[in-house]
Symmetry: C2
Subunit: 448 residues, 2 copies
């Protein structure tokens, strides 16, 4: 088991040698680790991504939001008021479940996707990554099955691995998770006597695949999950970031007892406060609060009150609109550059979110190719990161969220040069000659 | 197994019904929880502490620092600058290990206790509670043993329980952990073939016992741990808060391969940013970073940069000095009030930190007495919270950190009235008639 969360964050600072260490130094405590820890090791491509963080490299790998449009002066004044006038609360310990006012405001955000909940149903977490960790912690015994889209968010796969779950992927198409495939997968698992604890899904502007679950399929997926007694874990960081359509009803809006919903301010506002949340049925929510208190005591009051003040005094809906326009422009730049420079590949045209999922020409291997891409000063995440079994080498995830449109075009141009070189090798030798994949490794959070 | 972290924080807001829920409502997912989750339930005394948070109750239960001496105007201006001039970094994702500059500054803080480390050895965490969680996560298999002082910090016991560890307590005296008792405990566990993963200790101004490990005993404890191959987990939130003495050398300063050191800004500055840290040998630190990335991706940049700016622009040593004076005055008020009103009890006189550990007169039970104390408008934490097996009912922890000296005196006066009533019952009936303890329960984080 490995636990490479591979978040969609990326360090802004220079990489340190620390996280890329190889662990070859003598470890006096080697015999003391828990079983779950044995698979934890630094990714082989993590060192590569340390290089990829250099300014001369165009990173199409990271999932960092582009923050330069935020009104930093206004937010600075807001931060001043939070501490100067509410400091005795903001700087103190708070409730394990999270600030009551913020939990009420989160209902307003979720109402945009049709969710009707009570503040008591909400648990504030240290980013929605912590919500993933807590949900997995309370439900997963070693060997339990999590069903998830093929491909799936690498940071979620890392958490499932850390709790020694087994992930079984279900195919998707342009309309998201395929209900018939979900049904046959659950039926097969039931026949095999496997214990499926939940279905993990990113229904909107999927990471990494860019697709959304169609409105028609949503009740079908819920009905199948209900029939098999499988909880649905709906992870929705991008739902409000559609480019051409208004938000569609969340799965949670259709089933409040069968769905755990994860939300986040990281993409609709800013990730630096680390504020996300989970909405859960009453009894599950109680367990999540107890688990969170054990993990961190309580989320940061300073962060929560900053976000709460932002929501009550700033035009947060206008900011989301601005993000949608900004990311649409970048998406357009990405798709135009792919069309011009990489016609031999195929990709989807995402209608929201941060990512394009690109299929390489036959015979190319995105993981093997990565060192040559980084040498050519462009980075991406190989598809292997998004499959529990390390398949997916024929795909790569390209992020358009952070670089400027000009940089995106330049990055894809460089990538096209690398792909052309790979194809020449394949034509000459039938292979790129890099060998297979010894094991499944994902990049660390410095990288995606 | 239960997981009541029972932090030393306390909600400042009114209690909500949520955390005190009884779980009697039908839970559709009852059959789906992990084994580790089955013992998670709300504490029976948690509802009591919801009452104890009312303003008319003097709470001697919580571990909230008293923040009214902080220069909130200055800190507000600092927060403004962090966002307005460094917002693109402060509001963005950061490194999983934590901000490089802050890790360097943490070395300056630890130097006060003789620790010589490298910034690469430091992992920044969401409060030191998260460090406890991460260390336990990477080392503990279900059934492994953690050796800890009798009594021990209730939030640590909750984490150990959450990972299904077994805690074996070792007696302490006025000089802290007793080396001979540690040795005989480890010898007995070795004879029984038990796997001891680490010794958990709060060597300075112990929570709840108020004592410190003497300078003479420190190398002895380390030598014994080394001989038995047991890692030492040194939890040190209070080390800089001595009332009459300068800080003594940390265990980590005497052994950099055998000790994991946990530090925190929650008591020396403020808990609301949720910034703590762990210092670990190279290989262990790598595992901790991977585990933390899985748990939360990265700690909050906004919080880290706020703390870093505080350290570089404010007189943080002066603030610690001010805290020491403030808490000494409260300690004096507590001890004077105990001497005047509760001479039939016994207690230690702590030379730092937040807590006095009080032994009740014979026949009294601190847990049974708590509802009557809350009715008399005073709250404390019963000793049972600080023992893995629920013993300790003859003790209670009184916190002097948060209430004003006048409120402390009033609280102890009320408590004396309750104790007098209990003693009358014991004299009349030989018991207070409340019955035994059905199980081990600790208060939730709203309360201590």
């Amino acid at each position: 088991m490995t636990t490479h969360p591979v978040p969609d964050g990326e360090t802004s600072g220079p990489p340190t040698s620390s996280a890329a260490g190889t662990g070859t130094r003598l470890d006096r405590w080697l015999g003391s680790y828990a079983e779950r820890t044995h698979g934890m090791r630094s990714s082989e491509i993590r060192a590569l991504f340390a290089v990829a963080n250099r300014p001369e490299v165009v990173s199409l790998a990271g999932g960092m939001p582009f923050l330069e449009g935020l009104p930093l002066d206004v937010l600075g004044d807001l931060a001043q008021r939070v501490v100067a006038s509410r400091g005795l609360q903001a700087l103190q310990y708070g409730s394990g479940q999270g600030d009551q006012t913020l939990r009420e405001q989160i209902l307003d955000v979720m109402a945009l996707e049709g969710i009707d909940a009570h503040p008591d149903d909400v648990v504030v977490t240290t980013g929605s990554q912590q919500a993933l960790d807590l949900v997995t912690r309370i439900f997963i015994n070693p060997g339990d099955v999590v069903v998830a889209e093929a491909p799936s968010y690498v940071g979620a796969l890392g958490v499932f691995r850390a709790y020694q779950a087994d992930v079984v992927h279900v195919p998707i198409d342009a309309d998201g998770l395929i209900p018939a495939a979900l049904e046959s997968t659950l039926a097969a698992l039931a026949r095999d006597g496997r214990r499926v604890k939940f279905l993990y899904t990113v229904p909107n502007f999927h990471n990494p695949a860019g697709v959304s679950l169609s409105v028609e399929r949503r009740p079908q997926v819920l009905e199948i999950a209900r029939r098999y007694g499988v909880l649905v874990l709906e992870d929705n960081p991008y739902g409000l970031l559609g480019f051409s359509t208004e938000p569609v009803p969340a799965l949670r809006s259709l089933d409040d007892e069968g769905v755990l919903y994860l939300g986040s301010f990281s993409k609709t506002f800013a990730p630096g406060y680390r504020v996300g949340w989970v909405v859960a049925p009453h009894a599950v929510r109680e367990k999540l609060v107890l688990a969170s208190e054990s993990a961190i005591l309580c989320p940061s009051n300073a962060s929560q009150i900053a976000i709460s003040t932002y929501l009550s005094t700033c035009d947060w809906r206008g900011q989301i609109k601005s993000y949608r326009e900004q990311y649409r422009e970048r998406r357009d730049a990405m798709i135009a550059a792919l069309t011009e420079h990489l016609p031999e590949a195929s990709w989807n045209v995402p209608d929201g979110g941060f990512y394009t999922w690109v299929r390489l020409p036959d015979g190319l291997d995105a993981k093997d190719m990565l060192p040559r891409a980084v040498t050519a000063r462009v980075a991406y995440v190989p598809g292997t990161a998004f499959y529990f079994d390390g398949s997916g080498a024929d795909h790569m995830r390209l992020s358009f969220c952070y670089p400027t449109p000009d940089r995106i075009r330049e990055g894809v141009r460089r990538l096209a040069g690398v792909v052309a070189g790979e194809r020449e090798l394949v034509e000459l030798f039938g292979t790129t000659g890099s060998g297979g994949h010894a094991d499944v490794q994902q990049p660390g959070p410095d990288v995606t």
